[in-house]
Symmetry: C2
Subunit: 324 residues, 2 copies
């Protein structure tokens, strides 16, 4: 049975991925899925095993690697706002823990005489890019991050690429759009409001929009994010010609278009729960973010996302509204 | 007096830079120059102080930072061929030692109440780029390195950028072209032959060309490299708009053009000392290297290099021939 490890398996996307694997298995067969995280939600996704632990702890990566998972999803991270506030923790979790994981997997690769070479799927982010941008970012645009989080993600991608080039692991990095609509509570990511302005009104609660509604950004649903990771795990990486980091497809729209889509689905009364109160700090961070991607390579490789923000809202309604 | 630290000050470029500072001082005034390296050449450049040490040793970075240099040139590295052969040492020297340096400087920044914020000039490399390339690489092209050395340099750039963005240091990364003509012995860099095919014949010795003479690559002299670093140290980094890594100007030419320039300067008899014997491993590495850059930003910021390969050979003859 395929042995799958999801590091960060207690997080929102980790749980979506675990549910997808529990429902569909791995390539049609049941899989042994281990979730690893600092904590898990109540009534969480089914899995073969849940391990509570912290990848930054001494020996944690070595322990996980010693089980020789066939596929490792590495989703564990401190989010952007938190990494910006706590420099040390951001680098420890988002970079050094990933290095330890790669080293531990390499040790198993070498101990196996080279036969063990796990697929590693790394959840990266469009935060690897920094302004100024072209209107639509192509697949050969430079990574010049403007946040610590973005730098840590870009660096982790490069480490994974080099370990893969050397044949120690078989890696791929998936640069996720801003995931929207996130269920549950707001988190410390500066992007959190993109979800809140949809989720809160749909739950009958007031919400504050901290930026101008002319802000344009790039989104995919949690369902698509889990789909990207699952698709990446099964891809023939020989097709990537050594460029293992892929910009995912998504929906580019303004906040005004987001709100219009909400109005189309739920009516003007729901939209009236949104009020505008600019937060200069959030506006500044978001002003440095990309607006659109062509995602040519990822689309050609079969990655699929929603094609409208209405679909993104509908996914939230179908999957999460009333469940959280 | 300006306190200048050159880490890697015993190396070829470090020595050129030390000589430049000994001759011209720092912005017209004498400077206190400390050279730090694992070893120094005999009859080396003058300096206020030479320290023998290894930046990978525990406490080494902390000790260097405690002297609070105004300017830190970080040139210490394992070269590309060696980093490819010895994965662990490459990462330790080319990445982790740089991280320790940044952390040690940040500690001094914080201990000073934020007043200490040294200029850090990092010697990066065009090895941060990996094929396939456009014919001429622009300033917004992605860094997708195809060697461990290139990955380590690209990662170090991003760390320096983030420490600078946070205000801990005031950094700039200078992506050096392949430096040519290197005096002295061949080193383990895969690019070493670009120098050998000029240097050895000029010294009356036979040499083997391990690649086809149609190979096109991008060069600057050691004198220009020292000039780039010196210019970077004095630049107002506010002009960089947060993009702190710069592709340096240089000369793009084929090996055939290099050999023609040698013939123009030294005659057919000298060129006859070159024989062709393809080394598939070197040819493969070099095949993944860039051919040309526009270097628009660096030129606009006043960085200057040779404009022909003949000038590059002449610089070697003027500065190094007969001295080594």
């Amino acid at each position: 049975m395929t042995n799958i490890l999801i590091i960060g398996g207690g997080g929102m996307i980790g749980q979506k991925l675990a549910r997808l694997l529990a429902d569909q298995g791995w390539q049609g067969e049941p899989a042994e899925v281990t979730l690893y995280d600092v904590g898990f939600p109540q009534n969480g996704a089914d899995a073969s095993r849940r391990i509570v632990g912290n990848l930054t702890e001494n020996g944690a990566a070595v322990g996980l690697a010693s089980t020789r998972p066939d596929i490792v999803f590495h989703l564990a991270a401190i989010v952007s706002g938190e990494a910006e506030q706590d420099f040390d923790t951001g680098w420890q979790v988002n970079m050094f823990a990933g290095w330890s994981l790669l080293e531990a997997l390499r040790e198993q690769h070498e101990a196996s005489g080279g036969t063990y070479r796990p697929r590693v799927v790394f959840a990266s982010s469009i935060a690897v890019f920094g302004a100024p941008f072209p209107d639509q970012i192509g697949d050969e645009f430079l990574t010049a991050p403007l946040t610590s989080y973005g730098a840590q993600k870009a660096i982790s991608e490069m480490m994974l690429s080099d370990f893969s080039r050397k044949g120690f692991v078989d890696g791929i990095s998936v640069r996720l759009p801003t995931i929207c609509v996130r269920p549950g509570k707001a988190n410390k990511a500066a992007s959190s409001f993109f979800s809140s302005i949809i989720r809160e009104p749909l739950n009958g609660r007031k919400v504050i929009l901290p930026v101008s509604d002319t802000v344009r950004h790039y989104h995919a649903s949690p369902k698509s994010a889990a789909g990207f990771l699952n698709h990446a795990a099964g891809l023939d990486t020989g097709q990537l010609d050594g460029r293992l980091s892929l910009n995912m497809p998504g929906v580019s729209c303004t906040v005004a278009e987001q709100i219009q889509a909400l109005s189309d689905i739920a009516g003007a009364g729901t939209v009236a729960l949104i009020s505008h109160d600019e937060d200069p700090e959030v506006a500044k961070i978001v002003g440095g973010w990309p607006q659109d991607f062509d995602a040519t390579r990822a689309r050609a490789l079969g990655f699929q996302a929603e094609t409208s923000f209405r679909d993104i809202i509908q996914t939230y309604i179908d999957e999460d509204l009333g469940h959280s």
